[in-house]
């Protein structure tokens, strides 16, 4: 057949350069932010800005240079975190951030690989990958921003939505039990498990920094406001009101038994560093038990 192509609009590099020159460098954290990517797409009152900021502060605290760090995200509001960070960032398919990051972390063990994704992405469509990466103890720093719903698609029920909570797909209230994420992570083999809310920004920075400094599969749950998708239908209110709710209802309990940190609608939220159980990573075991067999032969031959 004959093909009649419509003319394509060429890439205007100058226009992007003008945006970057006009905006980038004004904010003290711009070294950590990709040039020309701000403003972000998140709603007013969303907790993702706090989550992004605490990650940047944790990088500063640990001194890990941006060129030694990589971030992998799945799909959804939290999936957009990767795109704002000025390092190697990968925005993958829905639920598949962890297996993608597994390939990256195993081939580049010199890099600090963080998986930043949401509760729906990591625990519904990606649930299987989460438990297996935790079991294998892949050296990944998983930060799960839990806003109890699917925000990007407009507030549907998630595997973290508390019973009776209203979402657009549970208009009469949710009848399903929710995952207790720290318990799931701990049971699956995560070497570090913590939970904070976006109200606990400073504790969160310390927790993220701690995980960046240890090897293995770590898990931090970040409870975050979603005033549009979760706050409004459940009469929690605006982003600020949700932060006040966190302030008044959070109980810091480091070392709490992960089995007992379920979250009910408008209930108390137990936060803290729940467990740290070091063990060799997948790659350490693979190198020690498998690759070294052949390295030794080479050395002997030499």
């Amino acid at each position: 057949m004959k093909i009649k192509l419509q003319p394509a609009v060429p890439f205007d590099r100058e226009a992007i350069n003008r945006v970057i020159e006009g905006q980038h460098g004004l904010h003290p954290d711009d070294h950590y932010l990709k040039p020309g990517r701000i403003p972000h797409i998140w709603c007013p009152g969303c907790g993702l800005g706090v989550a992004l900021n605490t990650f940047i502060n944790a990088l500063k605290m640990t001194g890990i240079p941006v060129d030694r760090a990589a971030v992998v995200s799945g799909i959804g509001c939290t999936g957009r975190v990767a795109g704002y960070l000025n390092m190697d960032t990968y925005h993958t398919t829905h639920g598949r951030a962890i297996p993608f990051a597994t390939g990256l972390a195993l081939t580049r063990p010199d890099l600090s690989v963080t998986v930043f994704s949401g509760d729906g992405d990591l625990f519904a469509i990606g649930g299987n990958h989460f438990i297996h990466a935790a079991r294998r103890n892949i050296n990944l720093k998983v930060i799960c921003v839990n806003n109890f719903n699917y925000g990007m698609t407009g507030g549907q029920v998630a595997p973290t939505t508390p019973v009776t909570a209203r979402t657009t797909t549970t208009p009469y209230g949710n009848s399903e039990a929710a995952f207790n994420l720290p318990y799931l992570a701990h049971a699956s083999g995560a070497v570090y498990v913590a939970r904070w809310t976006t109200f606990h920004a400073r504790q969160l920075v310390v927790s993220i920094a701690e995980t960046l400094n240890i090897k293995g599969f770590t898990f931090i749950e970040v409870i975050s406001p979603c005033p549009i998708g979760y706050g409004r239908p459940n009469k929690i209110g605006s982003g600020l009101e949700e932060m006040i709710y966190y302030k008044e209802n959070s109980i810091v309990q480091n070392g709490a038994d992960p089995r007992e940190v379920d979250i009910a609608l408008k209930g108390k939220i137990i936060v803290g560093k729940f467990s740290e159980t070091p063990r060799p990573t997948f790659l350490e075991e693979y190198e020690e038990k498998i690759l070294n067999k052949f390295r030794r032969k080479e050395t002997q031959a030499a």
Binding site: R96, T102, L291
Partner: protein
């Protein structure tokens, strides 16, 4: 990584094992897979052999994860592969699309069995060849190679890596159960005789680099993780910077280049094999295990004085349009035996474009054509 585990010489191995050796010879140092008949022997061989060359082999929780992991490994700068069969190939489609959109070099081997669904797990099929073209949603062009022997399982796996590194996309090796499980002599040349291509790297410093700007061949050079380029790699429609853009004009430009880099380079990619085509009045067009039967039929018919030839498709995608179109003039018919109910036959008929008749010889799977089936079809046209 060490090269000491590299082997060369003559081996009596099956197609799956030859495929694994081809991958290692091509420089593959990361394999992620999930057991599935009839491709399991590839994973088993990789699990044994990759550590010998200081590579990593990991059995993932499913084929979705396997495909995702090899994309991540490729961005880690390591040549990577997975191998599966129909059901796993279906699961991989999602991240194959991510690989197409993010232009990630890697190799996906599909040892085809008969479907749909679980079908005939241990028996041959060729029903996935269109899936290799259209299986993931959206618009893209793919490269799929189709081996007809264990030796070609080796050779074409090497070539698949080289094509994937040259054009930056997941490349398919569409083997089938028969070729995968067939044991024959396989010659593995010494490493210096094996052509190996590695992805082009950016020549310019990070601040000047446009990670998704195609060059003269429409393929952008590739910076990998940890090299200071601070890339954003996304499955969203993105501009030349790699930044997401929900804009029709950007989609038109970006995805058009994904199509162009294959369509416009197709003459460098496409390979066919002509057997007894000179003066042929009927051409059998076949691929994979079916081409072996077709060759036997052509040999028998030629001894009987029938002017028959075989056009074997080594490259399934991009489809060898020019070769089929040129062959169509002056012949009485194309005969297309395939173990499905008509997939490549539609492409052949499209390229024949009314110049000649196309005869499909379908089999549903589980069994291969006999030479007699093809001979009978030819004799219908050339009594």
């Amino acid at each position: 990584m060490s090269e000491s585990g590299i082997i060369s010489g003559e081996f009596f191995i099956n197609g799956d094992e030859a495929c694994a050796e081809g991958a290692i010879a091509a420089g593959c140092r990361f394999f992620a897979g999930y057991p599935i008949t009839p491709a399991t022997e590839i994973a088993e061989r990789m699990a044994r052999r990759l550590p010998q060359v200081q590579g990593i082999c990991i059995q993932m929780e499913d084929e979705i994860a396997s495909m995702a992991a090899i994309l991540g490994a490729s961005w880690g700068g390591v040549k990577s592969m997975t191998a599966t069969s129909g059901p796993g190939f279906s699961l991989m489609m999602e991240n194959i699309g991510l690989g197409m959109m993010t232009e990630t070099p890697c190799v996906v081997v599909n040892i085809m069995r008969a479907g749909p669904s679980t079908g005939l797990p241990t028996l041959v099929g060729q029903g996935d060849v269109m899936q290799a073209r259209w299986g993931s949603h959206g618009v893209y062009e793919s490269i799929a190679l189709c081996p007809s022997s264990p030796q070609e399982m080796f050779d074409l796996t090497v070539e698949a890596f080289n094509l994937s590194e040259t054009y930056r996309l997941p490349v398919f090796v569409m083997g089938d159960e028969l070729v995968g499980h067939m044991t024959e002599k396989v010659v593995i040349p010494p490493p210096e005789k094996i052509p190996r291509v590695s992805r082009r790297r950016p020549a310019e410093p990070p601040e000047q680099h446009l990670p998704f700007m195609g060059g003269e061949d429409w393929v952008p050079p590739m910076a990998c993780a940890g090299e200071g380029y601070r890339l954003h790699v996304t499955g969203l429609t993105h501009d030349e910077m790699g930044y997401p853009q929900t804009v029709a004009q950007v989609h038109e430009r970006t995805v058009r280049r994904l199509v162009d880099k294959i369509r416009r380079n197709r003459r460098r990619i496409i390979r066919t094999e002509a057997f007894c085509t000179e003066g042929a009045e009927v051409l059998v067009v076949a691929y994979g295990c079916t081409a072996r039967t077709a060759r036997e039929a052509v040999e028998i018919l030629r001894l009987q004085g029938k002017k028959v030839g075989l056009l074997r498709l080594i490259t399934l995608w991009p489809f060898p349009e020019e070769a089929v179109r040129e062959a169509a003039s002056g012949i009485k018919a194309f005969i297309v035996p395939e173990i499905n109910y008509g997939q490549m036959a539609y492409e052949v008929e499209r390229c024949a474009h009314g110049q000649t008749e196309t005869v499909l010889l379908p089999l549903m799977g589980g069994a291969i054509h006999t030479p007699e089936m093809i001979i009978a079809a030819v004799k219908d046209v050339l009594p």
